[in-house]
């Protein structure tokens, strides 16, 4: 056999599993005995990207830590649909305190584990975009600044979904939410606002920052594993489409996430100590219409009074990202397997 059969393995090289790969090169999700950190029976909507992203990330972290994992959760959809009394969908040690304090709680957990000599147990903090970008921002910044030994994951669905889709600091321009309705002269959310939290995290100089989507599992798992190789504060910004809030078909959750990346609207990259070290190139570039038109929250850009001007501005944003991060640089097939390139 050739020395690099996997490099040549075309079918399914981006799929979850791959019958010809060594176990160690397969995704955690292809493993029948994966931890299912977030298990069946949860009350997330059909096609929930956050439920999917949480299991992806936590299962990968469970493998990376050999199961020595504790998770802290901010208030939000993930918390509400996973632990309504009397049922919990978690299979890992899990703590929910408040909406805005998950990073600080995680800090406390990490400190306690160190003092108690349980340093081998790692801590993950998780929140939605509201809990990370907005109300939890102060605590998160403090956690970064102190370089506390926590991997903090923001499941970004770009609005306050738990309370009924109100605008957050991560809501993109022109998007319709319950507090940025598709009415008036400039329907939807305004341009030029919102926070680029990954860049802000990088500005703290923390050891590791990465963005990812639920559409590229290999990339996501590799980043979680990578994050677990560092001590100190780490940040993973994970795009998780919300069928309810985005007005997309439940079956399109991954498709929409993929388009967010392939249009350039959501740049996927990783950074160490404040510097971008790698980007995940766009494999098949798509115009932003392909992404926007799948989502009811952008319907007002297409309907009977279409807004090509607004779409053009959004396309310009995508083009800027592509330019800024060099998202059209060629794809390295050697990276298909993930992990070993680092």
């Amino acid at each position: 056999m050739s020395t690099e059969p996997v490099r040549f393995y075309q079918v399914g090289s981006f799929a979850v599993g791959n019958r010809l790969l060594e176990d160690r090169d397969r995704t955690v999700q292809s493993e029948p005995r994966r931890s299912n950190s977030l298990d069946s029976g949860h009350r997330a909507c059909q096609g929930c990207g956050e439920a999917l992203g949480a299991r992806y990330a936590l299962d990968a972290a469970m493998r990376a830590t050999g199961g020595r994992l504790v998770a802290v959760n901010a208030t939000g959809c993930l918390e509400v649909f996973s632990t309504p009394y009397p049922e919990s969908s978690w299979r890992i040690a899990w703590l929910h305190s408040l909406f805005g304090n998950a990073p600080a709680v995680a800090t406390g957990v990490a400190a306690a584990l160190r003092v108690l000599g349980k340093g081998d147990t790692r801590v993950i903090g998780q929140a939605g975009d509201g809990g990370a970008v907005d109300i939890g921002f102060g605590c998160l910044s403090g956690m970064f600044e102190r370089n506390d030994d926590v991997l903090f994951i923001c499941y970004d669905n770009e609005a306050y979904m738990n309370t009924g889709v109100q605008r957050s600091g991560a809501t993109p321009p022109a998007a319709r939410t319950a507090t940025t309705e598709a009415v008036g002269r400039d329907p939807g959310n305004v341009f030029g606002q919102g926070k680029d939290l990954p860049r802000i995290a990088m500005a703290h100089g923390v050891p590791y920052v990465a963005t990812a989507t639920v559409a590229d599992l290999h990339d996501l798992e590799r980043k979680v594993e990578r994050a677990m190789e560092f001590d100190g504060a780490r940040y993973l910004h994970l795009l998780v489409p919300c069928p309810l809030g985005w007005g997309s078909a439940p079956s399109d959750t991954i498709r929409v996430a993929r388009l967010a990346q392939e249009t350039g609207l959501f740049p996927v990259y990783e950074a160490a100590f404040g510097e971008v070290t790698a980007v995940s190139p766009i494999r098949r570039r798509m115009p932003v219409e392909a992404y926007l038109s799948l989502q009811g929250r952008y319907a007002h850009l297409f309907g009977e009074h279409p807004r090509p001007d607004v779409i053009a501005r959004i396309q310009a944003m995508a083009d800027d990202n592509i330019e800024r991060y060099g998202l059209l640089s060629g794809y390295d097939y050697g990276a298909d397997r993930g992990g070993d390139e680092n």
Partner: protein, 421 residues
């Protein structure tokens, strides 16, 4: 061994003897001396194993304490005033989750107008948070109560707040007997969490509870706190036998037997009150004092019994509920509702206003003569108040009262205990 040291120092050393494993704090006057001392001990390696986390806010301080406690560590923090209000959401959360965190509250007023001096408004603001609240009369009590607080908290799996008057106690240097490590170790076993975040035995802590169970959850928390009414006296007795000096319990009384008029109060003002009471006693007035240590849970029965003989009750409070009156008074009234006695509220010492023995004696004199108003504000400068009321009546845009009050002070008599701003 008795030493002449600052109250904050004594508290810090005592807390250190309790071997906290995680300390999270954010600086705010007048709590700073306590956490400065503790951070120094941790940094010097005198307090180990322990992590001192310099958090970015009080909200984070309590939140990190929650995380630490849930992960099985003994957690401590300290704050005051605005700081307590800033962490209030987490304060409720800590008790809701049943985490035995101990917090020192260096009592201080709440703005606006911003005021760094002592009163009890901050403690009252979290009265219903589900925390056990203990008020110290002296620095000796303040220090000793922390030992009892950790034991109490961990036995009940409830958070405990030790309240000590800001500056008046925290910054006062006096003779204090700081407990020995050995004795504290003997009194306070290592922390056995009721529930803990453990990968080997995973649980989901902090579920969402709906109408079908929330009331029960709250009622159970109430029962749990009421257990403290039996536990505190027991622990106090154990403390006395072990440390050879009394510890504050639920409450204590002074010259109360045969007293017709009883002054009820909490915290450091009790000392001055006792002096005033002695003076009145010398004049033949039958007055006494009831000192409340446990404000939450409120020792309703004990208060009722202690006041059984009183004809007139005067509650001296360093806080009040705007639009109504006394806060502690309400609880005392509930406890004594079936007594044939009068109850009056004296609001005193707001925002650090000195409570002088002279004023207290005058107040007692009126009380004994049954001429005290139901709600009295001690040493209120009525002149300023009337001037300000007039001014506001004249002009719609009257501006902030506080500045005018200060302005009035320049021209009016100047209390010497305050440096000119």
């Amino acid at each position: 061994m008795l030493r002449q040291i600052e109250g904050s120092r004594a508290v810090a050393e005592t807390v250190a003897c309790c071997r906290p494993q995680v300390i999270c704090a954010y600086p705010i006057s007048p709590q700073t001396h306590i956490i400065e001392a503790l951070s120094a001990m941790v940094k010097a390696g005198d307090l180990t194993p322990c992590e001192f986390i310099n958090v970015e806010s009080e909200f984070a301080a309590m939140s990190a304490s929650i995380g630490a406690s849930a992960a099985g560590a003994r957690a401590y923090t300290a704050t005051a005033s605005q700081g307590l209000l800033y962490m209030i959401e987490a304060v409720y959360n800590a008790s809701g989750l049943g985490l035995p965190i101990v917090m020192t509250l260096a009592n201080r007023a709440i703005g606006a107008p911003i005021n760094i001096w002592n009163d009890h408004s901050d403690a009252m603001a979290v009265r219903d948070s589900g925390w056990i609240q203990l008020f110290a009369e002296t620095n000796q009590e303040a220090a000793d109560l922390h030992i009892l607080a950790f034991r109490l908290a961990e036995q009940l799996s409830l958070p405990v707040m030790v309240c000590m008057d800001g500056f008046i106690l925290t910054h006062a240097v006096e003779g204090i007997d700081v407990a020995e490590q050995g004795a504290v170790d003997a009194f306070l076993p290592s922390y056995e969490p009721r529930q803990v975040l453990d990968p080997d035995e995973p649980v989901s802590i902090g579920a969402m509870v709906g109408p079908e169970a929330f009331e029960e959850v709250r009622y159970l928390a109430h029962l749990r706190q009421l257990e403290a009414l039996d536990l505190i006296p027991a622990l106090a007795a154990e403390f006395e036998s072990m440390f050879g000096r009394p510890s504050a319990g639920l409450l204590s009384s002074y010259r109360i037997e045969d007293a017709e008029t009883v002054v009820v109060a909490m915290g450091s003002v009790l000392g001055t009150i006792k002096d005033a009471v002695d003076a009145r006693r010398d004049e033949g007035d039958r007055v006494g004092v009831l000192a409340i240590t446990a404000f939450r849970p409120f020792p309703r029965q004990a208060v009722r019994d202690a006041l059984a003989g009183a004809r007139s009750i005067v509650v001296v409070e360093k806080a009040f509920s705007i639009g109504f009156g006394g806060v502690l008074s309400t609880d005392v009234a509930m406890a004594t509702h079936d007594h044939a006695c009068s109850l009056r509220t004296v609001v005193a010492g707001l925002g650090g206003r000195p409570i002088t023995r002279r004023s207290l004696e005058g107040m007692l004199d009126t009380a004994v003569r049954d001429e005290l108003d139901t709600l009295t504000f001690l040493d209120l400068d009525t002149g300023i108040v009337e001037r300000e009321q007039l001014r506001m009546a004249e002009t719609r845009r009257s501006g902030p009262s506080a500045e005018h009050v200060l302005h009035g002070l320049q021209s009016g008599p100047r209390p010497v205990d305050r440096p000119v701003p």
